[in-house]
Amino acid sequence: MSGDRRAVPPAVPGAPLLEVEAIDVSYARHGHSPVRAVTGASLTVGPGEVVGLVGESGCGKSTLGRAAVGLVAPSAGQVRYRGRPVEVLARGARPRWLRSLQMVFQDPYASLNPRRRVGRQIADAAALGAGAALDGKASSDRVGELLDRVGLSPGVAQRYPHEFSGGQCQRIAIARALAAQPDCIVADEPISALDASAQAQIANLLAGIAAQSGLGMLFISHDLSVVRKIADRTVVMYFGRVVESGPTAPVWARPAHPYTRALINAVPRAGAGGTLPAELPGDVPDPARPPAGCRFHPRCPEVMDSCRTTDPPGVDIAPGWQSVCLRAQPLPATTTGAGEVPGAAEVAGRPEA
C-alpha cells in the first residue's frame, strides 16, 4: 500500500490485535424489557489472522462487531485493541488512535453518504489513514488504485452511491475501509451481494492482505463456504453466545456443537438439483425470554434432560477449540488439532456450495 502508516499507539507487547473478552451488550427497548443481544462473548484476532464469525440471523454478530470497533459500549466485559481498552465516545465518534481499526458495515447503502461522490468518500478515508489530506493528484491516484483493487473502474469515483447496484456499493465500502490503511478490519457481510466470481476476487484480496501485510480481520458472513475457505479460525454464535470456536479445518471436518452441525447441513449446494436444504426445526427464541439451561435446547436434535436446566460450560475439544455443550468431549490427545480427525468423513465428503 502507498503512503506511510502513522505511528501507532504503544502496543502492549505480545497482545493480540483485537480482544473481545466476555462482553455483554444490551439494547434498551421502549415499553419492553431490554434485549440482551450479546452475552459473555469472547474472541481474539491476531495479526494476519482471518477469524470467521457465523451464526443465526439476529444472534448478535453485528452487535459484537460494533462493540469490537468501539461503536457500542458493552455493559460487561472489555474490548481491547492492541492491548488498550477501547472506550466508546458519544454519537458514533471514535478516538483517533482507533482509526487503524476499521469496520465495513453490513448495509453498504446506509453506510455511504448519499450526497457525496464516492471518490470523495474514499479520499476522506485515505486522508484519515495518512493522517493528513493528500494533495489532488496523490489523492485521485490513491482513489483510482483502491477502486481498481476492488474491481471497479477508477472512472466511477465521480458517481453518487444511488447510481450503483448493491454489489457495487459493497465494493466501494471495502475500498473505503482499505483506504484508511487499517491493520484490523471488522467486515460485516462484506461480499454478500456479489456474484461467485466477485466474491472469490474480494475474498482473495482480503485474505491476501491479511497474509502479506499482517492485517487482522473479523469476517462476519452467512456464506459458510467462503468462511471455510478463507478463515483461519471460525467462531459460531447462537442467540448471543459463542457456542463453538476453533481452527477452521477441524471445526468443519468434525463440528463439535449440534448447532454448528445444523448450520453446515443447511448450506445449499450448487449441485442440489431441486433438493431443498435442511431446515432447523423449532422457533428462533425470543430475546426477551432466553430459554433456561442451554439456549439451544428447544431446537437441539441431541437434547438431554440436563440441557433444560444446566447452562453448559465451555469444553476444550482440543487446544484452541472449544464447544459450549454438555455433550462435548475432549478429543484424545493423539488426534488433536490436525485437519484429519476421526469422524471427518461424516461431513468432509459433502460437496460444497
Binding site: G166, R269, A270, L280
Partner: protein, 359 residues
C-alpha cells in the same frame, strides 16, 4: 418442440413458456417479459443498462435470475412494478396475466403493485419506513390492498410474521425497524410481501442477509406457497446453491443481456456460456483445499464503458476476433435452453443429443 438447434432468436423470445421449461398450464404464463430494454439517465447521458431481456414465468413456477453484480437484475424487477429511477426509458414488453405493464399510469400500477405483484427488495431498508412501527406499516399495507378491518389486518400480520419465524410477533409489531437485525428486517419485509397473497412475488436477493438455516426456512416457504397456492416467484440471487435448490429454470445475465437460460439442472450441471462456466469455477468448493479461489479474470463492465461486441469479451478466455465487434445472438438450443455465445466452446459436437436430456 422442434429440435433444430440453431434458430436465431434475436427478436428475443427467450425462455418463454411455450418453448421451454415445464409444461405450461392452459392459461399461459403469469409474467412475460419480451425484449425488455431499460435506459437510465446518468450525468454522462442516457445509458442502456438492460438490453433485450426476455423470459416468462408460469403459474406456480420459480424462475431464478443470476448474474454479475450490476448486470441489471434489480432494474428488471423494478420495471415490472414501474419503480425505475426517474428519467428511465423502457422498451419491449412486460405483461402480467396478459396485461401490458410498461404503459400503465401510476394509479393503475399501484393497483397491481403490492396486491397482485409483490416485491421483496434487495435492500430491506427501502421496504420499511424507519420511523413507523412495524404494526402501522404492515396493517396499512394489508388494509389498503385487501380492505380488511384493523383487527383482521393485525391478525394477518401476526400470521405472516409467524410464517417467516419472527419470535414474539406481538412484540415485533410494536417495534421500529432499526430494532431488528438485518436478517430479521428482511424477514419482516418478506412477511409484508406475502400478506396480500400476491400471484407473483419478485424476490430480489431475499435470503442474502439470512443465515443458512433461516434461509432454508424461507426457501421452503416459497416452495410451499407455489405448491399450495400456485404463487409464481422470480428469485434474483447470485447464490447458485439457492438457485439449484428452488428454481425450476434460470436465466443468467451479464452486462444487461441474457448470457444463457434453461432448466436449472441443465445450466448448472453443464454450463454453456463462458461466464456461467467461470462462476462455477469460482465457487469456494471448486478450488483445491488451501488454494485461493479462482475468480474470472478482469472486472465486470460499468455502464459507462460497456464493451462493444460481446460484453464478456475482455474477460473471456475463449474470445475470438469477432467477439469484439459482433453482439452474439441469443440462440435457442434443444431442451429449452438458450445461449448467447457465438463461439460456444463448451457445446457438444452432437448438438441434437447434448442439450436434450440429462440424467
Amino acid at each position: 418442440m422442434s429440435a433444430s438447434g440453431d434458430v436465431v432468436d434475436r427478436a428475443g423470445t427467450g425462455p418463454t413458456a411455450g418453448t421451454a421449461g415445464p409444461a405450461a398450464p392452459a392459461q399461459g404464463p403469469v409474467l412475460e417479459v419480451e425484449g425488455l430494454t431499460i435506459s437510465l439517465r446518468t450525468a454522462r447521458g442516457l445509458r442502456r443498462a438492460v438490453d433485450g431481456i426476455s423470459f416468462s414465468i408460469d403459474r406456480a413456477e420459480i424462475l431464478g435470475i443470476a448474474g454479475e453484480s450490476g448486470s441489471g437484475k434489480t432494474l428488471t424487477a423494478l420495471s415490472v412494478l414501474g419503480l425505475l429511477p426517474g428519467g428511465a426509458r423502457t422498451g419491449g414488453s412486460v405483461r402480467f396475466q396478459g396485461r401490458e405493464l410498461l404503459t400503465l399510469n401510476r394509479r393503475q400500477l399501484r393497483e397491481v403493485r403490492g396486491k397482485q405483484v409483490a416485491l421483496v427488495s434487495q435492500d430491506p431498508s427501502t421496504a420499511l419506513h424507519p420511523l413507523l412501527r412495524v404494526e402501522v406499516q404492515m396493517t396499512e399495507h394489508v388494509r389498503a390492498h385487501l380492505g380488511f378491518t384493523h383487527d383482521q389486518a393485525r391478525a394477518r400480520a401476526v400470521e405472516m410474521l409467524e410464517a417467516v419465524r419472527i419470535p414474539d410477533p406481538e412484540a415485533a409489531l410494536a417495534a421500529h425497524p432499526h430494532q431488528f437485525s438485518g436478517g430479521m428486517r428482511q424477514r419482516i419485509a418478506i412477511a409484508m410481501a406475502l400478506a396480500c397473497e400476491p400471484a407473483l412475488i419478485l424476490a430480489d436477493e431475499p435470503t442474502t442477509a439470512l443465515d443458512v438455516t433461516v434461509q432454508a426456512g424461507i426457501l421452503r416457504l416459497l416452495d410451499r406457497l407455489r405448491r399450495e397456492r400456485g404463487v409464481s416467484v422470480m428469485i434474483i440471487t447470485h447464490d447458485l446453491g439457492v438457485l439449484s435448490s428452488v428454481a425450476d429454470r434460470i436465466c443468467v445475465l451479464y452486462g444487461g443481456r441474457m448470457a444463457e437460460y434453461g432448466r436449472t439442472g441443465d445450466v448448472l450441471g453443464a454450463p454453456r456460456h463462458p461466464y456461467t462456466q467461470g462462476l462455477m469455477r469460482s465457487l469456494p468448493g471448486a478450488s483445491e483445499e488451501g488454494a485461493p479461489m479462482v475468480p474470472i479474470q478482469g472486472s465486470p463492465p460499468s455502464l459507462d464503458d460497456m464493451p462493444a461486441g460481446c460484453a464478456f469479451h475482455p474477460r473471456c478466455e475463449h474470445a475470438r476476433e469477432r467477439c469484439r465487434t459482433v453482439v452474439p445472438s441469443l440462440r435457442t438450443l434443444p431442451g429449452g435452453r438458450g445461449l448467447a455465445c457465438d463461439v460456444d466452446p463448451f457445446g457438444q459436437a452432437d448438438e441434437g443429443v447434448a442439450g436434450m436430456e440429462r440424467p
